[in-house]
């Protein structure tokens, strides 16, 4: 007996080569356990043979969105540090981060996961601290995550061992919803020996590496000046690229870097709102893709990005690439939809299991109400998903075969309790380490 039948929905299907998007009408999706069993015209499957069914009434089913790079618990700092130069901003944030407790991470993670569920984001590659607490939050909310415990070179090899223990403990838990990854911060905060040991450890553990790299042109130039090679070359020489990697940002790469990356199993996590807000350059998305390197959507942390909304990343990526090339034909809707689904799944390391509504894929999917006024008159759903969509249009969210939000109600966790708890910490969070309140408006 199958577990869940979604009745009478539209289904977004994208050709593997990204050449076309099709919207199938009047489909039923049957889910057995945590996998999609079949997608077929409404009426063939008998709902009495399913434990549970959802009448979709023509809503659009598409794969759950994937956030390929975030620092989810930073939602605790949303709006706290605004309108500052990059260096001041970083110092201010780091000062605040030193004060965060394990409990803060747990509640911040819950808050951020709820925000993502409400926006149809079912998976996140998260890069932060106290990740055992983050893992507990993922376990409870029912989403999917790839968790890396962030570490800096000055913490020494002990820290590599500690995060390796986290990797071993949590890998494949929660029915496989939780995967783990090694997470050194960046080449400019981790020396070569530290990166080399991390790479060897990742290889032994059979996991990948999630790292910030070449965030700005200036980082690349500094690296070239001080040691004659780019940050991407540092990753190559230290063996980091020998395991599957998620490279966050990579806005400052050179064409030669792209050539290097094309030879490895790597993906770019792209967070365009952060780049705009912090006055950085955006990344060469089309160059990466022309070289066969997949690009995944990301939000970075809410301290810079302010939300964990992947629809916004999709929209900004597409608009900015058209603008960057002064050419509205760049990144057409089909390609952008592919990045949001299949390609983000590849960067997330699950390209064979996520990003498509097809038999044998994991049942991570969302139902979208396309009847809202801002979608009308619905000439072009793929374009609407990029340019008109609001997170609130996502009505129902299914992860690993289980309904975790239905008609905008989150079923796995008490949202009001999470909000109340977080708000009770506002005063403490708004103080910097020196005890001063942050400058209020």
């Amino acid at each position: 007996m199958s577990d869940l039948l979604i009745q009478n929905c539209q289904v977004l299907q994208i050709a593997n080569d990204g050449s076309c998007v099709e919207i199938l009408q009047n489909q039923d999706i049957s889910i057995r356990g945590n996998k999609i069993e079949a997608v077929q015209p409404t009426g063939i499957a008998d709902s009495s043979h399913f434990k549970n069914s959802i009448k979709a009434n023509g809503m659009l089913a598409m794969p759950g969105l994937i956030n390929t790079h975030a620092h989810v618990p930073m939602v605790l700092f949303r709006g706290l540090v605004e309108d500052l130069g990059l260096e001041q901003w970083l110092n201010n944030i780091w000062l605040r981060e030193t004060k965060l407790t394990q409990e803060d991470i747990y509640w911040g993670m819950l808050l951020g996961l709820i925000e993502m569920i409400e926006a149809g984001v079912t998976s996140v590659a998260d890069h932060y601290f106290f990740m055992d607490k983050a893992a507990q939050a993922v376990e409870i909310t029912g989403t999917r995550a790839l968790l890396g415990w962030a570490m800096f070179g000055n913490q020494g090899n002990e820290e590599i061992e500690k995060t390796a223990a986290f990797v071993r403990e949590w890998q494949g838990t929660a029915n496989g919803r939780i995967r783990t990854i090694m997470a050194p911060h960046a080449p400019y905060t981790c020396d070569d020996d530290f990166l080399r040991t991390t790479a060897r450890t990742a290889q032994k553990l059979g996991v990948g590496i999630h790292i910030h790299v070449s965030e700005t042109n200036s980082q690349t130039n500094t690296s070239l000046k001080s040691r004659g090679i780019t940050p991407i070359q540092v990753l190559q020489q230290t063996g980091v690229l020998e395991v599957p990697t998620i490279l966050a940002h990579a806005c400052g790469v050179l064409p030669s870097d792209i050539e290097i990356l094309s030879k490895y199993t790597t993906g770019i996590a792209h967070a365009p709102k952060t780049y705009l807000k912090l006055g950085m350059d955006t990344a060469p998305v089309t160059d990466f893709r022309n070289a066969g390197i997949p690009v995944g959507l990301a939000t970075d942390g809410a301290a810079s990005n302010n939300t964990l909304d992947i629809w916004e990343s999709l929209r900004l990526m597409t608009l900015l690439q058209k603008s960057r090339h002064s050419n509205p034909q760049v990144l057409p809707a089909t390609e952008a939809n592919k990045i949001a689904t299949q390609e983000s799944a590849r960067v997330f390391g699950m390209g064979e299991q996520l990003g498509k509504i097809s038999p044998r894929y994991l049942a991570d999917l969302i139902l979208i109400d396309t009847n809202a006024v801002h979608h009308q008159p619905n000439h072009n759903i793929p374009a609407n998903l990029i340019y008109s969509m609001q997170p609130n249009d996502v009505k129902t969210v299914i992860v690993d075969g289980k309904i975790i939000m239905q008609n905008r109600s989150i079923l796995t966790i008490d949202k009001i309790e999470v909000i109340s708890h977080v708000r009770s910490c506002v005063e403490r969070l708004s103080k910097t380490n020196s005890g001063e309140m942050s400058e209020k408006l």
Copy 2:
């Protein structure tokens, strides 16, 4: 007896010089007729002395948003013409526009007005055709509008007379909610004589002019090459700038143009999403403002912008200016909030009556639920309004003292009927003039 008491809200207040934003807590707003009578701490006003009251339960009251340049009925084309170069795009759109009937304009205007009400946009400066039909839609929905009947130079002086008749007929109607303006398309589609006659006519009628100008650098260069002056100089020499003007876009202005404009009563309508999507340069927002020229937020038509969401314009304007200057300190939250309220009101020509929640201002205001997860933990409401806000957070909309949306229900018009009607036209609208269906994905 006063008419409406809004109880226990937060109120957004911005200093006139834009130097600070304050969020007043626990306030009551009393409204008499169509004006704000008082803003005072909760408990002073007696609700039994008001015909109607709203318990705001801590929601945030702020001025209704103003869309300073749109072609609202173009929502009918949303998503229909995507990923084309600017020239192809324009030709495709113009071909479709020739087929629109008066009835289409009426229903398209209704659809767009509903979309704006749902996003808290209470006023729009609209520039399109069959504006008597648009005016009827504004009258019914209860919003505020500044309507200009678009005309091209090749239509001759007859057309100027025709639109002047529209101006006379509708000016100040619907209790003053409808104002009118002359709307020549652009200097590159209207010759000097046509512009001169339009300017004289506007002056006689006591109204302003709403016109596209210097949309791209290339328009400015073409004008300089063919006649030795910029499009802004054309407006100056033909007398257009002698009346109050709304200048749409002005992305391609020279520093000398900004100097000229600073001497006149003019405002810039800024629609950043369109500029990105069509691969154009964005406008020098900070230069305009440094010269004392107000900037107002705008969406342009949904054929290029895809929504009529002014929150999105606010966010993109702010992000793009930070990016343009490679400086995150540019356009801080206080300034951006000022542009969204007081400054947009000035561009709209009602700076003394709209854009503030203060006694004697018109009662156009919206109530926003700041309890949503994506606002938590609410450290900084002015920043959240720019970077985290979703249109769906707007719960209640009041225009001219009347509630037109309450708890997301539109009270003035049957939304379902409008959607149904528009959807019944989809097939006809999706065909181009030659009878061919548009290329489908």
